[in-house]
Symmetry: C2
Subunit: 132 residues, 2 copies
DNA sequence: GCTTAATGATACCATATTAGTATCTTTTGT
DNA sequence: ACAAAAGATACTAATATGGTATCATTAAGC
């Protein structure tokens, strides 16, 4: 039941910090503030800017700032980036597709629960998180 | 977002089968029916009987049967057995406890979502799953 | 009582995912 | 030119999960 992973957590914290500061923030600054290993933080930031969540500025006095309004960044997007597709199947039968697939009750129930969770996750955006 | 793991899935399928048959079922039979690797299935069954979900009978003509009414076996119990504690923290800050812990909004939100999922999972029991 | 077919216990290996590191190149303000 | 930033990429480590192998123990049935 691990909803969010470490990557995602770090990413969210970084984004929140950048959102609060509302200025260009450098990787070293984030490393200091969040206490995350430097190369790891950099990797995460690169990913976020590649995904257009952040906007990066190279060169001296460079850094990162948000590329979207905090309101427009849902945590589910970030989960997507670092954890791949969110939905899953609920049936692990070997390699082949389970013959029972259509009727499987467990499968259906799990689907519903997942969708509920996803709906709730979609509501949470950065604006919500930084607002005390 | 992997709600249930392979272990759990296999276990649930085994339990459902045993519940439907409503007799003593052997590991080899389950292996055949469910198409799960034999030693793996055995390991799962052993665990289930150790946890008092199943009742095991040794010796020739031995096997497993349910130790509880299907209604009394919630899938969350099985998740517990094979996936450990279900709740988690939502904060991954290094080793120490996050100073922000108390106020952290993300944390709270995640908690709520998890609890909702858990509540829903608690509703699902074997009786529900085997009822067409 | 001996054989056989079952489970109990345990220790081990394989694979995938996640976490983290290292290194080198490119860009840009001063 | 130089320094300080990000870009790119390839590698290693740790952990969790999935799966295997082996040997001991129990009990029904002849
Ligand atoms: S048993 Fe295969 S989908 Fe549920
Ligand atoms: S940032 Fe530590 S609990 Fe949320």
């Amino acid at each position: 039941m691990k909803l969010i992973t470490r990557n995602t957590d770090y990413a969210l914290r970084a984004i929140c910090y950048i959102a609060k500061e509302n200025k260009i923030v450098t990787a070293p600054e984030l490393v200091k503030v969040l206490g995350v290993p430097r190369p790891f933080m950099r990797k995460i930031l690169q990913r976020l800017s590649k995904e257009k969540i952040l906007e990066s500025h190279k060169g001296q006095a460079g850094g990162f700032k948000l590329n979207l309004l905090p309101k427009k960044i849902s945590i589910i997007q970030i989960m997507h980036i670092f954890q791949g597709q969110t939905g899953l199947d609920g049936c692990f039968l070997k390699k082949d597709i389970c013959p029972n697939r259509g009727k499987c009750i467990l499968r259906k129930k799990i689907r519903v629960i997942e969708n509920n969770a996803l709906t709730q996750l979609r509501q949470i955006n950065i604006a919500v998180l930084i607002k005390g």
